[in-house]
Symmetry: C4
Subunit: 226 residues, 4 copies
């Protein structure tokens, strides 16, 4: 971007990190991920005596619409990636410096803890349940769960890259990406909880201390023999 | 706006109040809020013998779509704010004179009473129930409820300001704001009824006389020790 | 439109009725209303042993999306009014000649009979039930039902005029009108079946011979003492 | 397209088949249909102990949104037809050479087997059930089922041709086509499973070996006496 700067310096991004715009972007990721998690931790709650709470369609639409809102509200600051997998993909595609990528991921994890924590303190204990943690369905093997999460992450990143393509210039990228999240939740919620997002899975896991098969949602998954 | 008028006079807005356009805008808020309340009081009704009435998704989509329709239908008259919290935020952002803000809020309260009343007279007594009143979930403390309502109001105002930003010029602001309302209902309906709107809470409360913890939905909430 | 033609002749529209374009438009209303009714008669069916069939959200989205599709598919032929109330409103607003309005309404009624009939012959008897007929909820008085239907018809016409305003030029009128239909169904389905459309109510009533309080859905309702 | 080439050669399309672009398009159909089937086989699964899995609205929105995503993601490679009926209609409309049409249909069938297979291996046996196979409702005759499938296929093709019309240039064709798929599922899911797509019906049928009345979904249906 900056003329005269060697390309490897741009790739590292230390110079960029001295600007106010850079830290605005990092803060934007933190706040946007916190909002994502406020919705994420609220929509699936099963309230005592209310069979209609936490239905799949409520979760899918709530999450799809919040992603759309975050892109409209925070997109011009940081892209509203709110997801380490997306940030990693953007980094690989050379749309992000390494310093920015690392700080975005840290901000996303902190935002997740913040947003989940806020919902945790306002939710009564008997409605908390497993609190939006994403566990592989007990009827499935962890390897099966990993395949599902890999597919869902791929689809999300694929749609994001397609919808934000500067050549195609589609009309409402925020709506398309939001509805893609809703689609992925309709697809995989019963298999793995349809996380697609390691930061999203982090927050709830910390508060209710459920870590079962958590690794299947990491973008760089270990090659384990099951 | 008007050249030659001192800025404090524009801020007060008495001059503006002498125009027909001004009173058209006030009437527009009254009618739009009445329509909002007709939908709001109808969608959550639980009809005897029909388990499928008043589901969360029905409420969320009904309210999201009516907000979209009101913005398309009344937006060019008054902005279709239909919400004292939004009007207050617009006033703070200097997009509204003080006289206009006060009359908008009065019109919204009157509209709420009108719309709720219309639904009240056409709804059979055994389907009325708590009639769309917004009460803090009995499993929660009022303070928890207030945190939820403050978050929901913040998100709504945040999306409205983002979607109507004259620089970004997004494609369908009415759709984005409508779906943000649907998202907020998916998020907070079981916590507090997801009011986000003191005028919206006023109407139903008057007809069925339920005022429990009503203050948590006021935009300027008292600092009480609980 | 045609220069040199006296305005009353345009208003009557006999000259227009000699063109192929005119009859294309009339046919378009017939086919579009038939498609509307195919969806309308299918979505609310309660299938034996399937509690999830005919839910409110399924009906609302099915009908909202079909109206959007019809406007995209038939809008340039005839406006895809598919509703005598809309045609009457368009006639009053001088957007339609009297001959065209009458033939549109006849075509809509024939289309309703055709579409409903098609669904009737492919639906098993024990899933037919009251077959999408719109009756006022037995808990309500007919006068209450009429108020609800008048409000729903008003909202529909109001959104149609707003969304197709040639000055505002909104981005996706078909989507806005479709979602307004979905909103109206979420609002009034338990009160009156949310007809909004006399042609829509005609077809099913003929096949299962249910005419109870049918008159509340006519655009020109008789002034009866109840 | 290519100047100097006789039109019948363009219609056959052998020359086109020597280009990289051609094979990219064929691969695009294979991958896009595989993704379609991953969603199609996942959304209707009934999980033990979860009454809220596989609801009609979840299926309709999941499938509608995936079609929108596929058009945005693969549309510029091959049109994202993902459906032999659509490919056949495009061929009849002279928008496709015969060689391309045949290879597209083969690719769609292979994609269907691939996508369905992927879901089959990650889904526990007691959640598989009839695995998204499309059978005519046992309360209906096969002839009735065929009428429903013919109507649904017609509507889909009609909306696709309308939404991609180069004269009308509508704003978001992907959204309109996606919501048309959702509409068709709301309409016909209880009659026939709302296949609209022979390739879509092929994959699941292979894995669970259910072929009952499969022929009603073929675009060229045999004239049988029932």
């Amino acid at each position: 971007e900056k003329m005269g700067t060697p390309s490897w310096k741009v790739w590292v991004g230390l110079q960029e990190a001295k600007t106010a715009k850079f830290w605005k972007a990092v803060s934007s990721e933190l706040i946007a991920t916190a909002i994502l998690m406020i919705v994420q931790c609220s929509v699936p709650l099963k309230w005592p005596g209310n069979n209609d709470s936490g239905t799949t369609v409520q979760i899918a639409l709530g999450m799809g619409f919040v992603v759309m809102c975050l892109i409209e509200g925070f997109g011009h600051f940081s892209g509203a990636q709110v997801n380490p997998t997306v940030t990693l993909a953007m980094f690989v595609a050379r749309k992000l410096s390494i310093v920015k990528a690392i700080l975005f991921i840290l901000a996303q994890c902190m935002g997740s803890l913040l947003g989940s924590g806020l919902v945790y303190v306002v939710t009564p204990a008997n409605a908390t349940g497993t609190f939006a943690t994403t566990v592989v369905n007990p009827l499935m093997t962890p390897a099966q769960g990993m395949v599902v999460e890999m597919y869902l992450s791929f689809m999300l990143v694929f749609v994001i890259f397609g919808a934000t393509d500067s050549v195609k210039k589609i009309t409402m990228p925020s709506l398309v990406i939001g509805l893609a999240v809703a689609m992925n939740i309709c697809t995989g919620i019963n298999h793995t909880g349809a996380s697609m997002n390691p930061a999203r899975s982090l927050g709830p896991a910390v508060y209710v201390n459920i870590w079962e098969n958590h690794w299947v949602r990491l973008p760089l998954r270990p090659q384990v023999s099951l």
